[in-house]
């Protein structure tokens, strides 16, 4: 696997994690307008990143479009991705 894919996946995780947090927070604070603006900004970023990732490596979700043949089945699956050694 080209490690660009792992790097792009990590970017996707970073932006996606903001949405995990804003989503949970908004569930109990639906009237916090500042949090909602943050959510919407990152929602847009996430969509753009997903589209770019999928154009390179195929569908993240079965609802996405794919080149021929169906790229969803391509390796690596998430548990096989090599993110390298921990830099921590």
């Amino acid at each position: 696997m080209k490690n660009n894919q792992a790097e792009l996946l990590e970017q996707l995780m970073e932006v996606g994690f903001v949405l995990v947090e804003t989503n949970l927070y908004l569930d109990t604070h639906p009237e916090d307008e500042r949090a909602l603006r943050l959510h919407n900004t990152f929602s847009q970023k996430y969509d753009e990143l997903c589209r770019f990732y999928e154009s390179q490596y195929g569908p993240l979700k079965f609802t996405s479009m794919s080149r021929f043949p169906w790229q969803y089945v391509d390796e690596p699956w998430p548990w096989d991705v090599d993110f390298g050694k921990c830099r921590c």
Binding site: A6, L9, E10, L12, M13, G16, F17, V20, E21, N23, L24, Y25, D27, T28, H29, P30, P59, L60, K61, F62, T63, Y72, W77, P78, W79, V81, F83, G84, K85, C86, C88
Partner: protein
């Protein structure tokens, strides 16, 4: 419904092969306070929650728990996949290997298989949300035990992330409980 996203919630890095550690981390794969129990518990309690906010919290935290279950399975798999038979013999992973090979399986660190008796659903939002808050604290404590047992920096990084999520979920469940109680008080007066 659910739609799978072909990625982990957080990058799982494992620097070493350590089947003994895999056998301990499997506690969070199929133990009483593990991620599977958490996910099934929250998603099962949704039907009888009285407010949209409480239903949302249970849906979204329950869904995140399934993503954590996938991360734990990945930790267990990466710690054991390259282990030789000699590296497995004599470790606590040997009993797991006898039945399941290197496939993760939902049992706890002592080998007891997952059971629905780890969870409950009471048709009582106050009782359910208290159970959920306790579950998050118990999972946090388990992660602290696992972090102390770990000597792989990648594994520790992942376990720290998961521990932090328990703290956030506890906070959100606490807020959901307050909102549910406010809702129940309002209902009594017309």
């Amino acid at each position: 419904m659910w739609i799978y996203e072909k990625k982990l919630e957080y990058p799982v890095r494992v620097n070493t092969t350590n089947p003994a550690l895999a056998a301990m981390i499997i506690e969070q794969f199929g133990g009483a306070d593990g991620e599977l129990a958490a996910g099934v518990r929250y998603l099962t309690q949704r039907w009888t929650m009285p407010t949209g906010k409480a239903k949302a919290v249970l849906t979204d935290i329950g869904t995140e728990e399934l993503a954590h279950w996938e991360m734990i399975g990945t930790l267990v798999y990466k710690l054991s996949k390259d282990a030789t038979i000699e590296q497995i013999k004599g470790t606590p992973f040997e009993a797991h290997y006898t039945n399941h090979g290197k496939s993760p399986f939902p049992h706890n660190a002592a080998g007891v298989p997952w059971t629905a008796s780890y969870i409950n659903s009471k048709d009582d939002p106050v009782a359910d949300l208290h159970e959920d808050m306790a579950a998050e604290q118990k999972a946090r404590a388990t992660y602290e035990h696992l972090i102390r047992l770990s000597d792989d920096p990648g594994v520790i990084d992942t376990l720290r992330f998961l521990r932090e999520r328990e703290v956030v979920h506890f906070q959100r469940f606490g807020e959901a409980l307050c909102l549910v109680q406010e809702h129940m008080c309002r209902k009594k007066h017309y």
